[in-house]
Symmetry: C2
Subunit: 637 residues, 2 copies
């Protein structure tokens, strides 16, 4: 690997660089490799289940649990190690994420001592495979409206878990179809005839022989577009009884007399506090999406560097990557992948700090973390879908063959845009966060929360602070005037455009949504009329956060050559983002038509400048060669 690639790798490997390095060798690329042959659904599931057990022996999972419950408490390391697995097989990543992250995370974060002692050791060792049974057929995004019930029966001191309708069936549940023994079931908790909102109850779903427990019906979701190694299934409960102590009781408990108690009074706040502890799942999906995207870019860029088609006059056939159209397909997404990697590193770091702080985290930091995770997840997964599709196309017929990995990368990540939170819903969540302090004031996460909350606000958003905010403000202050010829390559000018767009969109959104509070207003109509605006504001916000993470990353880089390269990549990322939304900037008079054309010309110029370094730029991702061993990376004799 070139010196430049090594220096770039150091810059993007981030705070847990040592974990990435360790994973590159210790995850044993041959042992955790993607399958090289077509497997049946059952063969694939068996393979991944076995890999999961092997993963349990590596010590990586223990990092994800805090020390007081028997883990190592290195959360950032845990998420980073799993992100590296995303270069190998996304089925394994998701299977591991469901078992340790979601199921184990529910037991650890929503349960108390008795659950930790009883279950965590066997969860860590993967002896007790688990399911995270939240989504129902009828309710996916709106999990607060789940219909499964968990009713306390004082006669027997048990909780009765029941599925009242097909719509209430737990659906798409990873691990349910084949391996899961114990499920963390989210259900409306009822005591003494009163509902306390959604809580989580542990329900055994299979016995030691793998047979369904009495009253539990298990269905199989069958083949999916991708993630074939994950055994998604359906769970229905016919008045299944479990001991009262199976309630994960950190945020809501039933005492020995059958009385319900909770440390948080408001049921909505309580529910979203519970959900908030599970934020790592969303962060891991963003990380997995990033890893898959970098794998696809490595394959497509490498291929385009040696594949030739059509001869130049009197010359050799031209390498694909020398065509501008091909550069345009691959290099701006490559720059954005760098940007997202810095943003992901920041997010993981923030998660680590919030969750390592001991005791209950600072509510403001926690809320910021959740909004950040939602936004990065939405943007990173959309970027993955779009970029992997482009990479497939850029490799033509070769990109369509399973042996060349792009089909699996595409199919496996496809669902990332809608699971762990549908991207549209997540961006609404981000927008809600932008309208500040909504939760304390308002405490309602349905889609109207935004409208009703914002209706009470004055316009006048404040740009939320990021790590790089001070630096960005200095850059913006020093930016050349609007008319300066070379402004487009000035970081301050670029940052100012991102800032202005976000502020304008948030300010005007708040104004629009105020109408919902006018007498006789149809709150839904007001919200719905502004829904695109809501999403655009969130998107602009995330764009700014991502750019600032890149700016901070460049600033932190001490190797001169790597820093210069990152600087150019940051230009390409910023300008191609501006170019993609130039309609907005022109409509709002933020750039002139001439400037807009200059942005496009500069993007073209940057692509040409970066082209000779493209291979080094993907080599810097440091993906083990065993995971890239396809026909795409090796030129024909």
């Amino acid at each position: 690997m070139s010196t430049l690639s090594t220096a770039l790798r150091t810059a993007i490997d981030g705070r847990w660089a040592h974990v990435r390095e360790e994973a590159r060798s210790e995850l044993e690329p041959t042992r955790f490799a993607p399958p090289t042959e077509e497997l049946t659904l059952e063969e694939y599931r068996a393979r991944v289940a076995q890999q999961l057990r092997e993963l349990a022996t590596t010590g990586h999972p223990a990092r994800g649990l805090s020390k007081d419950v028997g883990g190592e408490g290195d959360f950032g390391a845990s998420v980073t190690a799993f992100e590296m697995l995303g270069h190998a097989d996304l089925s394994l990543l998701v299977k591991a994420g469901v078992h340790w992250g979601l199921f184990g995370g529910a037991v650890a974060n929503l349960g108390t001592q008795r659950h930790h002692t009883a279950y965590l050791p066997r969860i860590l060792s993967a002896e007790l495979p688990g399911c995270f049974a939240m989504t129902e057929t009828g309710h996916g995004s709106d999990v607060q409206s789940l219909q499964t019930t968990a009713t306390y029966d004082p006669e027997t001191d048990e909780i009765v878990v029941n599925t009242p309708s097909v719509a209430a069936r737990k659906d798409y549940i990873g691990g349910a179809a084949r391996d899961g023994r114990l499920a963390a079931v989210f259900a409306q908790l009822v005591t003494e005839g009163e509902s306390h909102g959604v809580h989580c109850v542990l329900v055994p779903i299979r016995d030691e022989n793998g047979e369904p427990m009495p009253g539990v019906s298990i269905g199989d979701c069958g083949a999916k577009a991708g993630l074939r190694g994950v055994d998604n299934g359906r769970l229905s409960f016919d008045h299944v009884r479990v001991p009262r102590t199976n309630l994960l009781n950190r945020y809501g408990d039933i005492d020995a007399h059958g009385a319900y108690t909770a440390p948080i009074e408001n049921p909505t706040r309580r529910f979203f506090t519970m959900l908030g502890t599970l934020v790592r799942g969303r962060i891991s999906v963003a990380g997995g999406a990033g890893a898959a995207t970098r794998t696809a870019l490595t394959l497509a860029v490498t291929y385009a560097g040696h594949r030739r088609q059509f001869a130049a006059p009197g010359g050799e056939e031209v390498r694909l990557l020398d065509y501008r159209a091909h550069q345009r397909k691959l290099l701006p997404p490559l720059a954005t992948s760098y940007a997202l990697m810095f943003a992901q590193n920041e997010l993981v770091s923030a998660m680590h700090d919030v969750q390592s702080s001991g005791g209950d985290p600072d509510p403001h930091a926690q809320r910021e973390l959740e909004a950040r995770a939602a936004g990065i997840k939405a943007v990173a997964t959309a970027h993955a879908s779009a970029t992997i599709a482009v990479c497939r196309e850029a490799c033509g017929g070769a990109g369509y063959l399973a042996v060349n990995r792009l089909p699996a990368l595409k199919a496996d990540t496809d669902v990332f845009t809608t699971f762990e939170g549908d991207n549209t819903v997540l961006l609404q969540l981000v927008a809600k966060g932008l309208l500040t302090d909504y939760r304390d004031t308002f405490g309602n996460l349905d889609t109207l929360g935004v409208a009703r909350f914002a209706a009470r606000q004055f316009a006048g958003s404040v740009i939320e602070r990021t790590a790089a905010r001070g630096l960005v403000e200095r850059l913006v202050a020093a930016a050349p005037g609007r008319d300066a010829q070379d402004a487009v390559l000035d970081r301050g000018w670029q940052c100012a455009l991102f800032d202005e767009r976000e502020q304008h969109l948030v300010d005007t959104l708040a104004l629009r949504l105020r109408r919902a509070a006018e007498p006789g207003a149809d709150a839904f109509a007001v919200f719905n009329d502004a829904q695109d605006h809501v999403i655009a504001a969130a998107r602009a916000h995330v764009d700014r956060v991502v750019l600032e993470a890149f700016v901070a990353g460049v600033d932190a880089c001490t190797d001169a050559a790597a820093r210069a390269m990152l600087d150019r990549l940051c230009d390409l990322h910023a300008l191609s983002t501006i170019e993609a939304d130039r309609g907005w900037f022109l409509e709002h008079g933020r750039i002139t038509p001439a400037r807009s054309k200059q942005v496009t010309a500069t993007v073209n110029g940057l692509c040409a400048q970066l082209r000779p370094h493209a291979q080094e730029l993907v080599d810097a991702f440091g993906i083990p060669a065993e995971w890239l061993g396809t026909e795409l990376v090796a030129p024909l004799e």
Copy 2:
């Protein structure tokens, strides 16, 4: 089905409406259904091979051959019937397209009487499964540079077919891995030490027992992203000898003395004339993409019409399709699918007329047909990929399950953007056509042809005529002034924008490319610098052609209610297309910022207006219920 749906169906079913109706019943939706269970690769291939034999008995394939070679000569009917198959299983569509369309088409169009007599009956009946062996591992887009050789040996009066390198191996060949017996092999023809360019030779690849013929090595491409029922494989030839008469000799022949003769002198023109006869493959891919897109839209719109999520204040849970963001995802693509259906109908009609004219077609009409086919194929397949992805996302987890068909629609059509011509290359072909008369003047189809040709041109393009051109010109002439408030809903205003964009892009492109002729110019650099411009010009051209097809379709509709509905759909298609490229229109002063915002607001308004009719709009596609029988179309209990 509603009266409106029926009237809309009549309008979009087009010239071969009777064939569509026939196909809806006679193709027997249960017999030609997509698989409902996960099959192994070999099971799927066997299933599709069997369906192909059954299809042979329906009489549809005979329509695709002209009467003088034993067919029925109803080419439009043939292509339309196969388009309908695209609603069922795209593996079957592609398998049939390879066997009858490409392989059969090569024998019929490139061969002469002796080949017709010897092979066509058994091709029609599917007793002789064939392959179309053009693409090589090293040459896909640039087929003129294929490396396989076909060398005439006067000693034995045979042709020796040889694969000189791995790069020259025939690759991704449908039918090669399992079923093919005879291959139409494209190779550089050499006689008396002289190469005559690419010709097609029939080479037996398997014997009666299915064993490879001596000297033929057959590889298997294995699993692919989709199209699992198509047995793509690899063919290598080690000096395989076939009789001289196996040369498909319509455009180039070797006489009994070993001398080469050809009706077209220029080898490049000869080759592209040969290719031109095979235009129907590209048209069928566009048709299949359209059918798959309509299937996906039918599933997603139906689902969004009954699926509810999040309650409105004090009300029921809201149907997904009542959310603006959801309307935005599905309704503009739905409008564009109508537009593309009209454009496809026009294209099929033009193909039918050109190919039914008897004798060699008019070169101008043929060239126009090829450019039109290339452009519609590129745009329709890109639309399919984007729209099917959106439909999957719009159905969330349910959209990811194989049982709900969206995964297969997505995976199967993914390769449509790059096979039968990579879309980027095809758009360059369209641009070349726009720079008029290039071929007679210039005769070179490599990517530099554009630059070298255009260098000799003056700027000043002429809008190519379409069926609706007269009508459009009247509409444009009658359009309200630029400042008129209601202009955006005026068809003439919309058409004028499409016209102006195309003209401006083509004019400025010609000017730019002239630089390639300046002394000392680097022609490749000039071309490459303008490559994005080339593609934008082509895209703008196709956009105009598609819009004009829609305008003609509205004009031809005699049912008042259907016509009014089509009118609104046409508005939505036109305005969402303008909105997507509003950056360009603003940059070039074609719309003001205020007008641009009005376009967006009008798109939103049209979505709301069309929403109550969404189900009727997809019902009008007339997809047999058996092919839609998924969990998405039926509300829970």
